[in-house]
Symmetry: C2
C-alpha cells in the first residue's frame, strides 16, 4: 500500500464514520433507541453492516459515540469561552452563540438527547447527561458572577443564570419542534440581548 | 338512596377519577404510554379495573382525559390572564406565575407531555400539543405587542416573546429533571424580572 494508500484511506474511514453518525442520530431520534435497528442505520448511511461493527462494535457503540462526540464538541466550545477575556456580557453572548451553532450542527443528536432525557426508558445504555447540564450551568453562573463582581450585572446570579439558559434553550427547542417558528442567528442574538439588557441593571426595577 | 345518597356519591366518584388521573399520569410519565398497563394504574390508584373502565373506557381514554384536563386548566388560566387589565408587565408576570403554578400542580402531566413531545413514538393516541404551544405563544406575543404599543416595552416583540417563554420553560424543565436545582415562587419571580427589566428598555443597548 505504502504511504499514499494510507493517506487515501484515512478520509474514507472518517467519511464512513460520519455517515454512520448522522444516520444513527437521525434514526435513534426518530424511532427511539429500542426500536432502531442496525439494518436501518446502515441502510440510511449507505454502508455495510460490517462497517458499523468495525467502527463502533454495536448499536450501543454507535449510540455512545454520538453522545460522546456531541459532549466533546460541546466541552471544547465551552473551554474556548472559558478562556476568553473581556466583558462578561460579551463572553455570555459568545457562549450562547456557540450553543446555538452547536445545536444546529447536531440537531438530530440534540433531539436524541431530549428524547432520552424526557422520554420513557428506552433500554438505552447509560450516558451521563448531567455532565452536560452541570457544565453548562457552571460556566454560565461563573461568568454571571464575574459580571456581578465587576459591576457589569446587577441582580441575583441564580436568576440571571436561568434567564440566559432559558433564552438559549427556548430557541433551540423551538428549532426541534417547530423549525418554521425558529429564529436565525440574528433573531437569536436579539433574544439574548433582551436578557443581557435586563442583567445590565441600568433600568429602575 | 334519595338525595343525600346522591350527594354523598358524587365526591366519591370525583375522588376515584382524581386518583386514577394522578396514578395514570405518573405511570405514563415514568414508563411511557406503550409500557404502562391498566393493571399498574389501578394498583397505584388503589381502585378496581372496572372503575377505570367505568370512568375512562380504556387506557387510551385515561391518557386523553389527563391531557384534556391539563389543556383545559391551562386554557382557563390563560383566558383569565387575557381578561386582565393593567400594565403589560404585570399581566406577563401573572401569566408566568400561572404557568409555573400549573406545572407544579400537574408535574407528572407535564413530564408526560415532554415525553410524548420529545420522546420516540410510543403508539400513544394523537393529542394536539400544538394547541398548547400556539395558545401560549399567541397570548405572550399579544401582551408583548400591547406593551410595545403603549411604550412600556422596547425591542423586537418576537425576541421578547421568546425570552419570556424561555425563562418560564427553563424553570419548569429544571423542576422536571433536577428538582433540587429548581427555584421556588420567589426565585421564579426573580428570573422573570430579569427578562422584564430587559424589555422595559430603560437600558442603553
Amino acid at each position: 500500500m505504502g504511504r499514499t494508500g494510507v493517506v487515501r484511506r484515512e478520509p474514507t474511514g472518517k467519511k464512513v464514520r460520519e455517515k454512520l453518525y448522522s444516520a444513527a442520530a437521525r434514526i435513534f431520534a426518530q424511532k427511539g433507541y429500542a426500536s432502531a435497528t442496525v439494518h436501518e442505520i446502515v441502510e440510511m448511511a449507505g454502508v455495510t453492516k460490517p462497517a458499523l461493527y468495525y467502527y463502533f462494535g454495536s448499536k450501543e457503540g454507535v449510540y455512545k459515540a454520538i453522545l460522546e462526540k456531541g459532549f466533546s464538541d460541546f466541552g471544547a466550545r465551552m473551554d474556548a469561552v472559558d478562556r476568553m477575556k473581556g466583558r462578561a456580557s460579551l463572553r455570555l453572548r459568545r457562549l450562547c452563540q456557540e450553543l446555538f451553532a452547536l445545536s444546529h450542527e447536531h440537531l438530530d443528536a440534540v433531539r436524541l438527547m431530549h428524547s432520552i432525557f424526557y422520554g420513557p426508558p428506552q433500554g438505552a445504555p447509560f450516558f451521563d447527561f448531567d455532565r452536560v447540564l452541570f457544565r453548562l450551568h457552571d460556566i454560565v453562573r461563573k461568568i454571571v458572577r464575574q459580571g456581578v463582581r465587576s459591576g457589569e450585572f446587577r441582580g441575583s446570579p441564580e436568576a440571571m443564570t436561568l434567564a440566559v439558559l432559558g433564552a438559549c434553550n427556548e430557541c433551540i427547542d423551538l428549532e426541534l419542534v417547530h423549525p418554521e417558528m425558529g429564529v436565525d442567528g440574528a433573531g437569536f442574538g436579539r433574544v439574548i440581548d433582551v436578557v443581557l439588557r435586563g442583567m445590565e441593571g441600568k433600568g429602575g426595577r
